[in-house]
């Protein structure tokens, strides 16, 4: 009882103290407010962008790298490479003198060499490899990219030369090797772990060659790294890098303003104007490889009628949608499945206008003057392509009601949404696609081909023979001009047939304190802090 008043006083005192105290971060520390806990650090087991930021971008490196802020390939752990004329053999010359991280749990006895490259790929490709079965989840990225079907074998020519032999020529192969799942691990470390019977440490105490060394991770709270003093590109300016895991975008913003963190990732597009107005902050933005769309299930009548699909496109006020969803200037209106910066974009296509009377006319022509019922499917939580699923679905619902279509909204958790959409149970579904290598095919084949309609990943269930022939042909052709022409034709068919309501290509944003320099956004959506400094 007696300590009660004291407690009260204490509480009050703390409040006053808090007002007075201000933490000053040393200028070689950086706190980054990120969105979610990494699923783990053994990046080849995972696909989430937040996991890649916490491992592939900080701890690991690959044979090739993307030049910062671009999709252009530059040497990474391979100094140079040559491809055979038939496009089936790639020989990589590895960099000398690259050191793996030295930590309290591992001290490397040798530099990076060909064994590490072989280990990193064989583990994923070879079912007999001792580490293959260690991953309960499999290797989702490599599997999704069809790596096993592409790579015939990998040869060790000597300590510093490795040759990849492919089963068929593949234009984006080099770009694939710059992606997270192609990260290079220390074979020596892996052997030690297997001997010690602690293979799970590969995931919790990672070792790589990257700019930062792993220190500690507390789930849902923080990940701590220190700068790698032996980094072959030179030690990063940052002594300490800390990821503050902050799920709520409001809180990330508040912490950034309070200088509790110096970089806030994934700000909500609608908050951008307020962030830009704050003189202590700067906002970076970049056109990204994202497409937000609504898949129209063409297998469900009356959506099999192209006039109805066009009517849906005409009925949705996408300008208002973009304003409410992404804020002023937060996204560009989508016309095609991929943004205008990529190869073969068809400039002649003009977006479907917002024209409810014309939509009603089309419905009348199709014999649906009395309207019909539809279901709109969406997910509960926001993501980059769909920051606020709730309001999007409600806007579509209201606009469809205006042309006499009654729609009800059904919200499913992401896993269930995908499963059911794959079975084709939906009518309209809000979806997004994140391109990851900047090739048009990366947008079309997975989402709109007949094969994808078969597997269900083409939620429109749309299989157009002519369109399919055009994109298959474009996959095999090497000459960019010829490919571009094929894609232009394909896009015209897509536009006219309207299997989607293409919504937007959202921009990517990050908000930083003004004194943070050297951070660039990547079109692949990854975040790398190797070159960041604070002044």
């Amino acid at each position: 009882m007696a300590n009660c008043p004291r407690l009260l006083i204490h509480l009050l005192l703390c409040g006053a103290l808090a007002a007075a105290s201000q933490t000053f971060a040393a200028s070689d520390d950086l706190v980054v407010c990120t969105e979610a806990s990494p699923e783990g650090f053994d990046i080849v087991q995972y696909t989430a962008a937040t996991t890649a930021d916490a491992s592939a971008e900080t701890l690991f490196e690959r044979l090739l790298a993307f030049a910062p802020g671009t999709t252009q390939l530059i040497p990474g752990l391979a100094e140079r490479w040559e491809a055979s004329v038939d496009g089936l053999n790639y020989t990589f010359h590895l960099r000398h003198g690259v050191k793996f991280h030295s930590t309290t749990w591992f001290t490397p006895s040798r530099d990076f060499n060909a064994d590490d490259v072989l280990w990193s790929f064989q583990r994923q490709l070879d079912p007999q490899h001792p580490w293959h079965a260690q991953s309960l989840r499999g290797f989702p990225y490599a599997e999704a990219m069809g790596m096993a079907a592409l790579i015939e074998r990998i040869e060790r020519l000597d300590d510093y030369r490795v040759r990849f032999v492919l089963k068929h020529p593949e234009a984006p192969f080099l770009a694939d090797l710059a992606m997270g799942f192609a990260s290079i691990y220390s074979a020596e470390y892996a052997d030690q772990l297997l001997k010690a019977g602690t293979p799970e440490r590969l995931n919790s105490q990672p070792i790589g060659t990257g700019p930062f060394v792993f220190e500690r991770y507390a789930k849902d709270a923080q990940v701590r790294y220190r700068g790698n003093p032996q980094y072959w590109q030179g030690a990063p300016a940052l002594q300490r890098l800390i990821f503050a895991i902050t799920a709520d975008p409001n809180v990330r913003q508040q912490k950034l303003k309070a200088d509790d963190c110096q970089i806030a990732l994934y700000p909500r597009p609608v908050d951008i104007p307020a962030l830009k107005a704050d003189t202590a902050l700067q906002v970076l933005e970049l056109d990204s490889l994202l497409t937000a769309y609504i898949g129209i299930n063409t297998r469900h009548p009356p959506l099999d009628d192209v006039r109805v699909r066009q009517a849906l496109n005409l009925a949705f006020d996408r300008a208002a949608y973009l304003r409410a969803q992404y804020g002023e200037g937060g996204a560009s209106l989508a016309v095609a499945p991929y943004p205008a910066t990529l190869l073969g974009y068809n400039e002649q296509l003009s977006p479907w206008p917002y024209d409810p009377p014309r939509a009603r006319r089309l419905l009348r022509e199709a014999g649906h003057q009395d309207g019909f019922k539809l279901s709109i499917w969406t997910r509960p939580g926001g993501g980059p392509t769909n920051p606020n699923p709730g309001i999007g679905a409600q806007m579509l619902q209201a606009d469809l009601a205006a042309i006499g279509i009654q729609a009800d909204i059904r919200v499913f958790e992401w896993g269930e949404l995908i499963k059911r959409a794959k079975n084709g149970e939906h009518d309209l579904v809000f979806m997004g696609w994140a391109g990851d290598n900047g090739d048009p095919d990366n947008f079309l084949t997975p989402n709109l081909s007949c094969a994808a309609a078969e597997s269900g990943e083409n939620q429109a269930g749309w299989c157009d023979a002519q369109f399919d022939a055009l994109i298959s042909q474009a996959r095999q052709v090497q000459a960019p001009a010829q490919r571009a022409e094929l894609y232009r034709q394909a896009l015209a068919i897509f536009h006219e047939q309207a299997p989607w309501i293409a919504l937007a290509h959202p921009k990517q944003f990050s908000a930083l304190r003004r004194e943070v320099k050297g951070f660039v956004l990547s079109p692949m959506g990854s975040n790398n802090f190797a070159r960041v400094t604070r002044q």
Binding site: P249, N250, Q253, R268, V270, A274, D317, A320, A324, P380, G381, N388, G390, I391, A393, Q394, M395, Q397, A398, I409, R410, V411, F412, E413
Partner: protein
């Protein structure tokens, strides 16, 4: 017997008042309870006549008036008294229509847990050998899980939505009724009137529902009021976690959840639904206090 025909002069103060009147006097004695009742009458009125009371359709989107502040603030519009939300819908209309949902959720979930709860509780009380303990163990199992987690799991199974929210809340509040009924039944079973009725040949069902149950009603009614208010809170909490009633249905908790993103720019979309929830729940709890005092003097001053 006295066969006199003259009307006796009755001292009014000696008359035992009618139960209803007595109840009302006890209830009215509690000023908080009366205030709560008045507020609830207002809410019920809004709920019943929402389409006529509300100035607009709660789903109508005025896309030129996104996040308009309330009328008395700078930038406010007289046509939107309490301002608009992120899709330009009139907040006042949504709150009024929300009253419907919250009352419905409260009422439905109370009924859906009260009735099975009473049945199970009676059974458990009347069959104390095998059936009773099994039922009570089952309730223990349910009580061992924190209610909100259980509700989240149930909603995850059934899918989010109005009806499923009601079901989840009803299931979660079931054990309280079962325990309460059983305890009350156990207390009554050994009373003389029950024995008398048993000896007079009353069947089991008659014993259960006609003899014993009415004498256990007081605590149940109080519990029902309490769980009415906690149902509204739970529904709002589920809505807040994105698992409750789905948009565009104007449920208060769901409104709060979607408004959370705008807390720094538009305080009213966050504050007003929350305040409405608080006031309604407070009003019901005040009424509950009054009911308890009036119905069950024994319980007076208990929590």
């Amino acid at each position: 017997m006295n066969a006199s025909t003259e009307v006796p002069v009755i001292d009014q103060s000696l008359l035992y008042p009618s139960p209803l009147k007595e109840f009302w006097q006890a209830f009215a004695h509690n000023k908080g309870a009366v205030a709560g009742l008045l507020f609830m009458l207002l809410v019920v009125f809004c709920a019943l006549f929402a389409p006529w009371v509300a100035p607009y359709n709660p789903s109508e989107q005025f896309r030129d008036f996104l996040l308009t502040p309330p009328a008395w603030l700078e930038g406010g519009q007289a046509q939107f008294l309490l301002g608009t939300d992120e899709l330009g819908r009139d907040l006042l209309s949504r709150l009024i229509h929300g009253a419907r949902l919250s009352l419905m959720i409260g009422l439905a979930s109370v009924l859906m847990s009260l009735i099975p709860g009473i049945l199970l509780g009676l059974t458990a009380g009347f069959f104390p050998r095998l059936l009773g303990p099994s039922i009570m163990r089952l309730m223990d199992v349910m009580l061992a899980l924190p209610s909100l987690l259980l509700a989240v799991a149930i909603v995850a199974i059934l899918g989010p939505g109005l009806i499923n929210t009601v079901i989840a809340i009803a299931i979660v509040s079931l054990p309280a009724y079962v325990r309460l009924t059983r305890a009350a039944v156990m207390g009554e079973l050994h009373r003389d009137y029950v024995t008398a009725s048993r000896l007079a040949g009353a069947g089991l069902l008659r014993l259960m529902f006609v003899t014993v149950l009415p004498n256990c009603m007081a605590p149940l009614i109080v519990q029902a009021t309490l769980s009415f208010s906690s149902a509204i809170l739970d529904a709002a909490a589920l809505g807040f976690l994105g698992l409750g009633v789905q948009p565009p249905t104007p449920e208060w908790g769901t409104m709060l959840a979607s408004a959370r993103d705008y807390i720094e720019r538009a305080w009213w979309v966050v504050s007003l639904p929350g305040l409405t929830i608080l006031l309604s729940v407070l009003a019901i709890n005040l009424m509950g206090d009054g009911l308890r005092d009036a119905l069950d003097p024994k319980l007076k001053n208990a929590v």
